[in-house]
């Protein structure tokens, strides 16, 4: 066949070829081939590919030839042809030798290596898992393409120059004025929550209509999807919100209503009932479900134009009805601080009359990425969605670092403890001429491999446990190990870890003097410095462990305390029912109320505008009659009917309760003790009959309620005003004795459906609603607990390893002691004493640290547990117990050993 290439080329072609001297193959694949190919195969392979290439040029043309050259080079990238990179790349024989020695040492003492590698892996894994959670918390709203130039416009209110409140709600005219007046704004988008939710119905031709109640509806500007990057799966992005009857659904709501989320439901009709809209909407698109890291969370989107046109018709509505919030998208080249300064006083330009001389309203720009963790709007003022706490993020990051440090300390401790076993090796190496640097490199290589193995194990653990932690805290998390920032962390751990953890043992071990170690005097780690360092490290580890156990205990106690503390009102045995949204009539309400009251077991019934645990209806400024206008202070207001205080068992300390017998405004208001204190109205008896001015209404105090926790125990008692309403349709509350709850509920349901046809019956127990407010705290507690456990396990692994080594070192001592008559018990005591002493010392360090940390954390709450001595005693005892069990296995084994075994080889 060889002759084929010579003879089969016709004369003409040969001439062409001669002229071209054959074409050079493409450079890139050629160098790639030369790089990866085994040197002894290269010439043959490269030649064959090139021969094929040149033939192809003649038969098929240059393009096809080049393509096949690429393809062939890639096809040859197979094991048989690829050279061994590892050996040739790290062109360092010593590294290879050291690696071999490292793996032999790892294999030699399996228990030791297991403890060492698992300990490190647990530390690194904990670190990585926490990192994933922190990254999730920090990723909020960063997925929007324009995230960096989107700001929410908040308003900060000042009274007498003092900041009184920051709010996000504004009138719709603010958005349009901003957009009109300032060229810095590329676009603005207003959002209006669908207050109180809507009942949605779809009518199928054949079946029963499907109906459900939706809370999570947003009414938004038609450019909403241009500003924010929520994914529209089906529909036309630019047109989806342009029609007045359009409605957008998320995938899961589409499936809920129509069973599918494909284009077939476009144009289908959904009837909305509730709030401002009582009409049909047409599906114009389907959105992906809102990402979990979005502060805007919705199931449906509606266009805002019809809402403004239909409901905000009054002249005062533009600025005065502050039900909107507005986001602006700034031009890339405009400076935020300059722009902020320009708009700061805008409210005064447009609405000078709204503010007294002592009042000020300043507009602020809040980057949307800051909303989740850095929102300065309190939950009570209606921050949208769940916010995170940046402090708990810092705290968790600290724990991550601490766990990693514990793991590294373990490594250092174990390696140094093991040093004497390597003494002879070092001695001989030095005697035959090894330099100290070479030995240091040897031990660093070992550290490198142990760290690498630990890192691999940690990556596996992370992959396994990140979703578990996600479930624990109720978010959907999965490990993303190839993300850019994860890779940086992994890279740092991989490169810095071995040096940080390996440097000290390497220095110690390489320092042995050959004449000494070879003579048989062992390095026992008993030089003063080394001993002190090792003990210091153990003390440090256990101080951290005490701190974490005490922290865990404190978090647990505080959460428990919040759930079980006396709220100043009844929260159990209270059933809350969502009021009707459609065809509401007073007559139906009265009938419903009467019938519910007649159910046996039902003791109280109330209707109210909002519920404890769900915030107040609104917050505003108020002052006592006769005081200066600028002395206004914040009060929170809700409407309730005459049954409310009894249903919730709120104690009336002075004056009287609301009563249906008294007509309308004669009922006055109920206030709490805190309000009386705030306004200095004297004793609770004196306060009765005094008047409060709020929103230009004069309200007289007719009753004083005992302080109660309307909201979470995070906040102190608010100054609260309850206004009287004969009936409210928003929320019903029913209190009953505990006998046969299901029957009672089903009875109430029957009455509800007959009284309010067309409405959905939905109920919840008040304590559920109330405890839901602690979700974020619960999450924090769960994570904290999990990682405290991680830290303790890591610390105990270290202790176990250390104990087993010190004891094996003193095996002869044990033997001699036993020969001389020591009992097993006394030997166990002898060995345990050291460690118990260390733990006690570590506690002396940990107690003030814990006290400081726990009180810092408790500052988040207005109502807290007391930091008592049991907070410290419990972790100390627990740790002693854990450490005791950890080392007792070793000590008991040592004390029971037969002295002959240990002394035989002297």
């Amino acid at each position: 066949m060889e002759c084929y290439s010579r003879t089969s080329v016709s004369g003409k072609l040969a001439a062409v070829i001669k002229a071209n001297e054959f074409s050079h193959p493409p450079k890139i694949p050629q160098s790639f081939l030369r790089w990866y190919c085994k040197p002894d195969l290269l010439e043959d392979i490269e030649g064959d590919i090139e021969e094929d290439y040149n033939k192809r040029i003649q038969n098929k043309g240059i393009r096809s030839a080049k393509f096949y050259y690429w393809l062939d080079v890639i096809r040859f990238f197979r094991p048989f042809a690829v050279r061994n990179f590892f050996k040739t790349q790290t062109n360092n024989t010593m590294f290879r030798v050291n690696t071999k020695i490292a793996f032999r040492n790892i294999g030699k003492d399996k228990l030791y290596s297991f403890i060492n590698i698992t300990g490190l892996a647990i530390g690194i894994a904990a670190c990585l898992i926490i990192f994933h959670y922190v990254r999730f918390q920090k990723s909020f709203d960063k997925f929007h393409t324009n995230a960096e130039s989107i700001y929410r416009v908040n308003t900060a209110y000042y009274e007498n120059g003092e900041l009184s409140e920051i709010g996000m709600y504004c009138g719709h005219a603010l958005g349009s004025s901003l957009g009109r007046d300032f060229p810095e704004i590329k676009s603005f988008t207003r959002v209006h929550p669908f207050y109180k939710g809507a009942l949605m119905t779809i009518k199928n031709e054949s079946e029963q209509p499907f109906q459900s109640f939706e809370d999570n509806v947003l009414v938004v500007e038609n450019n909403f999807l241009d500003v924010f990057s929520f994914k529209l799966i089906i529909g036309d992005r630019s047109q989806a919100l342009k029609g007045p009857d359009n409605i957008l659904l998320t995938t899961s709501s589409a499936i809920k209503y129509f069973g599918t989320a494909d284009a077939s439901i476009l144009g289908k009709v959904i009837n909305l009932n509730g709030g401002w809209a009582n009409r049909d909407f047409k599906v114009s698109g389907i959105l992906e479900d809102t990402p979990e890291n979005s502060h805007l969370d919705f199931d449906f989107l509606l266009p805002i134009e019809p809402l403004i046109k239909e409901k905000y018709t009054r002249e005062s509505a533009g600025w005065g009805w502050t039900n909107f919030f507005v986001y602006v998208l700034l031009n890339e080249n405009s400076s935020v601080s300059e722009f902020q300064a320009k708009i700061e006083n805008m409210m005064h330009e447009y609405r000078a009359n709204d503010y007294g001389d002592h009042q000020q309203a300043k507009l602020q720009l809040q980057p949307i990425a800051d909303i989740h963790l850095h929102s300065n709007i309190s939950d009570g003022d209606g921050e949208f969605g769940k916010t995170g706490n940046v402090n708990s993020i810092y705290f968790l990051s600290l724990i991550a670092v601490l766990i990693l440090v514990i793991a590294w300390i373990n490594f250092i401790n174990l390696s140094t403890a093991k040093a004497n076993e390597r003494g002879i090796e070092v001695g001989i190496k030095k005697a035959i001429g090894a330099q100290r640097v070479q030995l240091i490199f040897q031990f660093l290589t070992e550290s490198f491999w142990v760290n690498t193995l630990a890192l691999l194990l940690a990556i596996a653990l992370t992959n396994l446990l990140v979703p578990v932690m996600g479930r624990l805290v109720g978010i959907n998390l999965s490990a993303d190990l190839f993300a850019y920032d994860t890779l940086i962390i992994l890279g740092t751990l991989w490169s810095v870890g071995p040096i940080l953890a390996g440097a000290y043992p390497a220095l110690i071990m390489s320092s042995f003097s050959p004449s000494k170690v070879l003579k048989g005097s062992k390095y026992s780690g008993k030089t003063k410095g080394a001993l002190f360092l090792r003990k210091g490290l153990v003390v440090f580890q256990f101080a951290i462990s005490t701190f974490l156990i005490a922290g865990t205990y404190a978090v647990y106690k505080q959460l428990n305390y919040m759930r079980n503390s006396d709220l100043g009102m009844a929260s159990e045995q209270v059933l809350t029912i969502a009021g009707p949204r459609v065809s509401i009539s007073l007559k139906a309400f009265e009938a419903f109320k009467n019938e519910v009251n007649n159910i046996s077991g039902v003791t109280h019934f109330a209707s109210s505008s909002t519920l404890p645990g769900k915030g107040f209806s609104f917050g505003t400024s108020a002052r006592p009659l006769g005081s200066l206008e600028n002395t206004g202070k914040r009060v929170d207001i809700s409407w309730v009917d005459s049954g409310f205080t009894e249903t919730y068992d709120i104690e009336i300390l002075a004056g009287r309760d609301f009563s249906e017998a008294i007509r309308g405004t004669e009922n006055g208001i109920l206030v709490n003790e805190s309000l009386i204190e705030t306004f200095n109205l004297g004793s609770i008896q004196e306060a009765i009959g005094k008047r409060i001015i709020s929103n230009e209404d004069t309200l007289s105090i007719r009753g004083v309620m005992k302080n109660h926790n309307w909201q979470t125990l995070h906040s102190s008692y608010n100054s609260t005003i309850l206004l009287y309403a004969y009936a409210r349709s928003e929320n019903f509350s029913v209190r009953f004795d505990m006998a046969d709850i299901p029957t009672t509920i089903s009875k109430i349901q029957d009455i509800y459906t007959t009284s309010f046809p067309g409405n959905l019956f939905s109920y919840r127990f008040l304590d559920d609603i109330f405890n839901e407010q602690y979700e974020e705290d619960r999450q924090f507690g769960q994570i904290f607990n999990a990682f405290a456990a991680f830290a303790i396990v890591a610390a105990c692994l270290g202790l176990f390893g250390l104990a087993s080594f010190t004891i094996s070192q003193r095996a002869k001592e044990v033997g001699i002691r036993k020969v001389l008559g020591a009992s097993s018990k006394s030997i166990t005591m002898l060995f345990s004493r050291n460690y118990i002493l260390l733990i006690l010392v570590s506690n002396i360090i940990a107690v003030p640290l814990t006290y400081f940390g726990v009180s810092l954390w408790l500052d988040n709450y207005a109502f807290t547990i007391n930091i008592g001595p049991e907070l410290f005693l419990l972790p100390i005892l627990l740790l002693l117990f854990i450490a005791g069990t950890t080392i007792s296995y070793q000590t008991i084994k040592a004390s029971r050993s037969n002295p002959v075994d240990n002394l035989r080889y002297e």
């Binding site: 066949m1 060889e2 002759c3 084929y4 290439s5 010579r6 070829i17 001297e21 054959f22 050079h24 193959p25 195969l41 010439e43 043959d44 392979i45 490269e46 030649g47 064959d48 590919i49 090139e50 021969e51 094929d52 040149n54 033939k55 062939d72 096809r75 040859f76 197979r78 048989f80 042809a81």
Partner: protein, 113 residues
């Protein structure tokens, strides 16, 4: 002996090397396989097989002359070793044994299809 069994493709390559004797080399083998059997195989597959065969000591190789067509690289010529011949023979014997063991009827029945 288990290790002497040839894969189907390896057998094909080994036979082709015999056919092209004494000038069997990568591209030549590839093309011979194409022309004799109509099978389009890639160079890398051929080389992988050659590599395996050489590792099994069934073939041996030597560098030959360089051509311009190959950009000045030498060819590597493969020849079958004595062990290779023995293996080929064994393989063939195995086949024959099996062929002869097939009952006549098998061939007759299948004519219908």
């Amino acid at each position: 002996m288990k290790g002497t069994n040839l894969g189907e493709f390896q057998e094909l390559v080994l036979l082709t090397i015999g056919v092209l004797y004494p000038e069997a080399y990568g591209v030549g083998i590839k093309e011979e396989i194409l022309s004799k059997t109509g099978r389009k195989v890639t160079l890398s597959t051929v080389h992988a097989a050659l590599n395996r065969l050489e590792k099994k000591n069934l073939i041996t190789s030597d560098f030959g002359e360089a051509t311009k067509m190959r950009g000045g690289k030498r060819k590597r010529y493969f020849t079958i070793t004595a062990f290779g011949i023995k293996t080929l023979n064994e393989t063939r014997a195995q086949r024959d044994l099996l062929w002869n063991a097939i009952p006549e009827q098998v061939f007759q029945v299948n004519w219908q299809l």
